[in-house]
């Protein structure tokens, strides 16, 4: 056990020695400086290690050899060890990162840095309140100086504001300490707390409250609580990013620890006030962050928000409302420390402050990957620590009955996700606005190394926490391992990577599928099989496609994990993993910046709803698809049902919540679109399956809820089809179509009878086949033509006959015309709805499926039929791998069309005994209570008729002369150009006119309004930070008054 005194000795001693060393030998100072920091860090790690392994007890060090109150004592407990280790680690890394700049400024900057580190350590370690103040001052003064080190106006003014705010805080703190000392006669934190209690009811008690108020107020200022934090923003904004990183990560952490020590003194009444302050700060800072355009300031808001959240967690934990709050706090803290520092460091490397110009980083895949990683960590995506902390936090809050808190915390997180990923979007897709910073970003090796080190550490912590938190973590880790493994292949040819991914998916499927049954089997074979086919299609890629295959594999893996999950946490883990990976896939599209952001925000909102739903369901085990559960378990209540259903409705793009979907489906890369639309859209279906299994029909209000969801499904189906018919963009058309088709599935599931479920699952498979087919075929066409506007194509049947056949089969299947698979789904659906008594929904679904003919025809006509354009007259057939994948799907469609029983029978088995059996098979005929359908006979009759009639036509027809595209009867004229002869643009105008009343994009307008409103509020609130020191002081006082009122309320 090394005594912590060494920390101070090393820091102070080296600090004084540095100038001498510098004189003695050039460059020696840097080495010694880093060695000193390493020494400090080693000491703290040593404590942490010893405490963890139980090799030593909590250490109490008495500096002057006396016990308190006669001397200052330091404590090294578990918390202290964790915090000092983390802070020292970060500061060491930060020093490495900053070393060139520090040495450039001379030894004085290194001295300041050492003092800064020492101050933070002291803040964590000391148990003496005055000593705490001293260390705080040391930290503060060192950091003012560090901030102002740049010696430019911005840095100096920021340092000045920092100093003003810091001295205000000091004054109040000192006043508080004096009064407290006057009352209690001690400065030792532990004894103050115990003595304070005894003063209640005495005359001195009148002094206690103001004293405590002043103390807490001072610490709140140090914690940069809203709105007394304008100065801090200027600091983050103007300091060198390396310094900002340290202030954000280190000193904020130290301040948090200090307030953790102080709050017990203040007494229980203060916990609530602190928690409220913290969460208000969290929400407000993140809200204002929405409007930020500068990276430093944006990160500043994020830091302040995170501190607020941590304050909330700590105060509620101290209050005793949050079990296992330590874990939450430590997870959040470490996550914040590393991720935030990492992002600040990245800002330093790029040297670009405006987030719009962050396209500069796009050419450095490694840095971009790091950025994505930090973003994911900061927004609480798995497997990073914040994910587990947030999950535990929400779970505990719900079980503690703190629902309103959850709302605020999730709202704040949503804002944070929004602005962080807006930034990330600019980084990936933004490009550079003005040429001045257009050159490639170059980090020095040590800076890059530090960033990598931070990311690695974050991952390690994530791995550790994951092992602690989640059951069956090996299985859950598989997708990540696969993706990480693929990263090793990044240097290879894209085709090699594709084949490796394909092999990985196939091997994984081969390993797990035989051991499965029921719903997991269904969805897994569907996800993995479908994923494999789609991977095959991506093999045509010639471009570098950095990061594409890992993310694709991650998405397929997470989908599989989703279907395999057996607890709520596993489910949610896989769900978030899927969201993130698919977001990256969407973002890879050329014009995908805005759609991807929209996708992310909606997905995050949906995910939070799901999380809240899980939390409100309590400890209900969710997932695992209720294998072996006969019937419905019926263990959910109304609130969780609504929350979960709402969350899943976002994912399936139910009408009203669909605004993200057309863009995300359409703007992703062409082959990713196929995957996202045909496979990923089923994740929501899976969610509903699991939810409905869990919920059953027994709970209160179930009738209305199910019929509401049913109506949403039907309306989604209708509007999806209607909007699809009005699109000019082939992929948008298919995207809307997907939205509509998933509506049928939801409608079928919501019917809650055997036929409905068979219909939904059958239609899932069928939709995967035909929509995958269509998207792949369109991907091939877009790949060759370079446009997505259908009216620019035309007549491609002669050049791309294989793709044409795909599209034709696809639309026949899609439109539900017998004899192909689409009809089965429709037939089952109507039977289910009639069984349920939902006649109007059935009629609406029927109408939607006829509207589907409109866009089906349009797709095939505008692209393949009609007039060929001269620009495309030498175009080639789509790449072979795309065609191969399409023909696998066609074969599957044909097989299932010929013998629907080979698909429907297993699905009936999977749906199993949960419902009364309504469907029966007799030979090839499927009987429902209302009707019957013999797919085989229909196929045979149609084929026979077709063959016979074709032969007849061949016999009676004279040998036809093959003619070309202008050989048409054009009212005795000749067509002028193919462009003016191809009737494809605004094809269904009369339809649009007739339905103009209901075609107004109400949902889009609504969400636009919500977005604008949030931005407007953010913009308005932002103006309180005027940059004026006087204004900041006023704000601090206003904050004091507010805090006072709050504490009165809290104390009474």
């Amino acid at each position: 056990m090394v005594t912590p005194i060494y920390i101070f000795i090393i820091a102070l001693g080296i600090a004084f020695l540095l100038p001498l060393l510098e004189r003695a030998k050039k460059g020696a100072a840097e080495t010694v400086f880093l060695a000193a920091l390493s020494g400090i860090a080693l000491i703290s790690w040593h404590w942490l290690f010893s405490l963890l392994t139980g090799r030593c007890e909590i250490g109490e060090i008495f500096t002057a050899g006396f016990r308190p109150p006669f001397s200052i004592n330091l404590r090294v407990g578990m918390e202290e060890a964790v915090f000092t280790s983390a802070i020292n680690l970060a500061t060491l890394a930060g020093a490495v990162y900053l070393i060139r700049e520090l040495s450039g400024r001379g030894t004085k900057s290194m001295m300041l840095y050492l003092l800064f580190v020492m101050g933070m350590n002291g803040m964590v370690l000391t148990r003496d309140i005055f000593n705490l103040f001293v260390f705080m001052e040391i930290t503060g003064i060192a950091s003012y100086a560090l901030v102002a080190l740049r010696l430019d106006t911005k840095g100096l003014t920021a340092g000045f504001k920092y100093a003003i705010a810091g001295s205000l805080a000091s004054i109040f703190m000192l006043l508080g300490i004096i009064v407290i000392y006057m009352i209690t006669g001690t400065l030792n934190i532990d004894s103050i707390a115990s003595r304070m209690v005894s003063f209640s009811g005495t005359a001195a008690a009148g002094f206690v409250a103001p004293a405590v108020f002043m103390l807490v107020f001072a610490f709140m200022i140090e914690m940069k609580q809203f709105p007394a934090n304008g100065w801090a923003l200027d600091v983050y904004d103007s300091a060198a990013p390396g310094i900002s990183a340290m202030i954000s990560a280190g000193s904020a952490g130290a301040a948090l620890f200090a307030i953790y020590k102080i709050l017990p003194i203040a007494g229980e009444g203060w916990y609530m006030a602190a928690a409220i302050t913290g969460s208000v700060t969290f929400v407000a800072a993140n809200l204002i962050g929405l409007k930020q355009e500068r990276a430093g300031r944006l990160l500043g808001y994020s830091s302040i928000g995170q501190m607020g959240l941590l304050l909330t967690v700590v105060s509620l934990g101290l209050k005793g409302s949050l079990p296992s709050w330590q874990l939450i706090a430590v997870g959040l803290f470490i996550n914040h420390l590393l991720a935030k520092a990492g992002l600040f460091w990245l800002t330093g490397i790029t040297g670009e402050d405006r987030i719009r110009n962050w396209g500069v980083i796009a050419r450095r895949p490694f840095l971009l990957m790091m950025m994505g990683l930090f973003m994911a960590a900061l927004s609480g995506f798995p497997p990073f620590p914040a994910f587990w902390s947030k999950w535990t936090l929400v779970m505990s809050m719900f079980s503690g009955g703190m629902k309103v808190w959850v709302v605020f915390i999730l709202l704040g997180s949503l804002f944070e996700v929004a602005y962080l990923f807006r930034w990330f979007g600019y980084a990936v897709r933004g490009g550079v606005e003005d040429g001045e910073s257009g050159d490639i970003v170059k980090g020095t090796p040590e800076k890059t190394a530090v960033i990598f080190f931070g990311a690695a550490l974050l991952t390690a912590v994530a791995y550790y926490m994951m092992g602690k938190m989640i059951d069956n973590s090996t299985l859950m880790l598989m997708p990540l391992v696969g993706a990480a493994g693929l990263l090793l292949f990044e240097r290879f040819d894209p085709r090699v990577r594709g084949i490796v991914s394909l092999a990985a998916v196939l091997y994984y499927g081969y390993m797990i599928i035989p051991g499965l049954s029921g719903m997991p089997l269904f969805f897994n074979s569907f996800f993995l099989g479908g994923g494999a086919i789609m991977l095959l299609a991506t093999l045509h890629r010639r471009t570098a496609s950095r990061g594409f295959y890992p993310m694709l594999l991650l998405m397929i893996g997470s989908l599989s994990a989703l279907a395999l999950s057996s607890t709520s946490l596993q489910f949610f883990y896989a769900w978030e993993l899927m969201t993130f990976s698919s977001y990256i896939l969407v973002l890879r599209g050329k014009k995908a910046m805005k759609p991807a952001l929209l996708y992310m925000v909606f997905s995050a909102a949906g995910a939070y709803l799901v999380m809240a739903g899980f939390a409100s369901a309590g400890g209900t085990v969710f997932g695992g698809a209720g294998d072996g559960i006969a019937g419905m378990s019926g263990s959910l209540q109304m609130l969780p049902f609504i929350l979960l259903a709402a969350g899943f409705l976002v994912k399936v793009a139910g009408m009203g919540l669909h605004v993200w979907a057309p863009g995300a489906y359409a703007e992703a890369e062409d082959d990713s679109s196929a995957i996202i639309s045909s496979i990923l859209s089923k994740a929501g279906v899976l969610g509903f399956v699991f939810l409905f299994i869990k919920a059953g029909t027994a709970f209160t209000g179930s009738t209305y809820l199910y019929s509401t969801i049913g109506w949403i499904g039907a309306i989604t189906a209708f509007f999806g089809a209607l909007y699809a018919a009005m699109q000019e963009d082939a992929k948008k058309l298919l995207a809307w179509s997907s939205i509509g088709q998933v509506g049928y599935m939801i409608l079928g599931l919501a019917a809650m009878n055997q036929i409905g479920w068979v219909a939904a699952l059958y239609h899932s498979v069928s939709h995967f086949m035909f929509k995958g087919l269509l998207f792949l075929a369109v991907a091939g066409v877009v790949y060759r033509t370079g446009t997505r506007n259908m009216y620019e194509m035309g007549g491609l049947i002669k050049r791309m006959p294989m793709s044409f056949i795909s599209v034709m089969i696809g639309i026949i299947a899609l439109s539900g015309v017998p004899p192909l698979t689409g009809f089965g789904g429709k037939w089952l659906l109507y039977n289910a709805l009639i069984e349920r008594g939902w006649y109007l929904q059935a009629a609406l679904a029927f109408f939607s499926s006829t509207v589907a003919f409109l866009y089906c025809f349009r797709l095939v006509h505008a692209i393949f039929l009609g007039q060929a354009k001269p620009a495309f007259r030498k175009i080639k057939e789509a790449p072979r791998s795309l065609i191969a994948a399409q023909y696998i799907l066609i074969m599957a469609i044909m097989m299932f069309s010929m013998k629907p029983s080979i698909l429907i029978k297993p699905i009936m088995g999977i749906v199993g005994e949960r419902f009364d059996t309504l469907l029966t098979w007799q030979a090839n005929t499927l009987y429902s209570p209302f009707g019957y359908w013999n797919g085989f006979a229909v196929m045979m009759v149609v084929c026979a008729l077709f063959a016979i009639l074709l032969v007849i036509l061949l016999l009676i027809s004279p040998k036809p002369q093959k003619v070309k595209q202008f050989n048409i009867v054009f009212a005795a004229e000749r067509p002028e150009t193919p462009e003016t002869t191809h009737y494809a643009w605004k094809f269904f105008t009369p339809y649009e006119r007739a339905f103009s009343g209901i075609l107004k994009p109400a949902a889009t307008r609504f969400w636009n309004a919500v977005g604008e409103w949030a931005e407007a509020v953010a913009a308005m609130s932002r103006h309180i930070y005027s940059g004026n020191t006087g204004a900041y002081v006023v704000q601090i006082f206003i904050f004091g008054i507010l805090l006072f009122i709050l504490s009165r309320g809290g104390l009474s």
Binding site: K826, H861, Y932, L953
Partner: protein, 304 residues
């Protein structure tokens, strides 16, 4: 196997009957329209001559494979529609392949031919074909809305989707017909029927003066012969469908002829009186009164 062959033979016989009946109907309609105009009109067998004439054309041309297959798709759709429907209730030989599917299959099969035909016509590259298809598809989908509602009303009423069962439920005199037992659904169905038969006022997709006869602009010779044949079969099949659904079906060919003829006359007389709707007008028409009637029908039937 013998069963199947026998059924195929029977179906072929049915097809012959219906085809000839349909051709005569087409001829008759032409005469009726002529008489309304104050003309004499062509002989009733004119459709036969027309088909023979188109068959005797000596040349043909082809815009591509889909152009060639389009008419085949079309007539498969027509014959299929007929084949999956019992024509005469109780007759051993006019049941066709109705064992293969119920009314949903039949209704969806209507679109089979339409889609195939649309593909063929679109391959010709003629803008008028595309415009005609657009109009036809748009109008037809709108007409399907009240029809779907009427169908659902029947399903609610009879709790079955099998055409045979629906017909069976209507046996025993006019009082059992759906026309009497479910008049609102019948009304909705009949309003949709106007659109589905594509007679005036719902024949803007052909619009001979404006977009020379729409989708089939480019078709000729034997293609046209197939399409003319299909026109008669398809017409008759749709009539039989509506007869089965709303008017008690038929127990003999004679009854079938009488009922379908009467049904057709409704459409024909409406057609000679009313001028043609534009597409958006007809769509709006369908989504107003017929839609309201349809919803009313479902509500009444489900409420029972």
């Amino acid at each position: 196997m013998m069963e199947v062959l026998k059924q195929a033979g029977y179906s072929l016989a049915t097809l012959m009957v219906v085809m000839n009946y349909g051709l005569l109907l087409v001829g008759l309609v032409t005469i009726i329209v002529a008489r309304v105009h104050g003309r004499i009109g062509p002989p009733i067998w004119q459709p036969y001559i027309n088909i023979l004439k188109t068959l005797s054309m000596r040349t043909a041309l082809s815009h591509g494979i889909m152009f060639y297959l389009g008419p085949v798709f079309r007539i498969v759709g027509g014959i299929g529609l007929l084949f999956f429907m019992p024509v005469v209730y109780g007759s051993s030989w006019m049941q066709n392949f109705s064992f293969a599917g119920d009314v949903i299959l039949v209704v969806y099969f209507v679109f089979f031919g339409m889609l195939g035909m649309a593909l063929g016509a679109a391959e010709s590259g003629h803008p008028y074909s595309a415009i005609g298809i657009m109009r036809g598809l748009a109008q037809n989908t709108a007409a399907e809305l009240p029809f779907a509602l009427a169908l659902m009303a029947l399903a609610a009423q009879h709790q079955t989707l099998s055409i045979t069962d629906i017909v069976a439920a209507q046996q025993g005199g006019i009082a059992h017909w759906n026309m009497i037992t479910n008049p609102v659904a019948t009304l909705a169905g009949m309003l949709a029927f106007f659109g589905m038969m594509m007679h005036s006022p719902f024949d803007v997709h052909l619009a001979p003066q404006e977009i020379p006869i729409g989708p089939p602009t480019e078709f000729h010779s034997s293609y046209l012969a197939l399409m003319q044949t299909n026109r008669s079969i398809f017409h008759a099949a749709k009539l039989i469908l509506f007869m089965n659904l709303f008017f008690g079906g038929a127990t003999s060919i004679f009854v079938m002829v009488v009922k379908t003829f009467a049904l057709l006359m409704v459409v024909v007389f409406a057609g000679v009186v009313f001028p043609r709707y534009r597409v958006e007008q007809s769509i709006r028409w369908f989504i107003r009164i017929p839609l309201a009637v349809g919803i009313l029908a479902v509500v009444i039937s489900a409420w029972k």
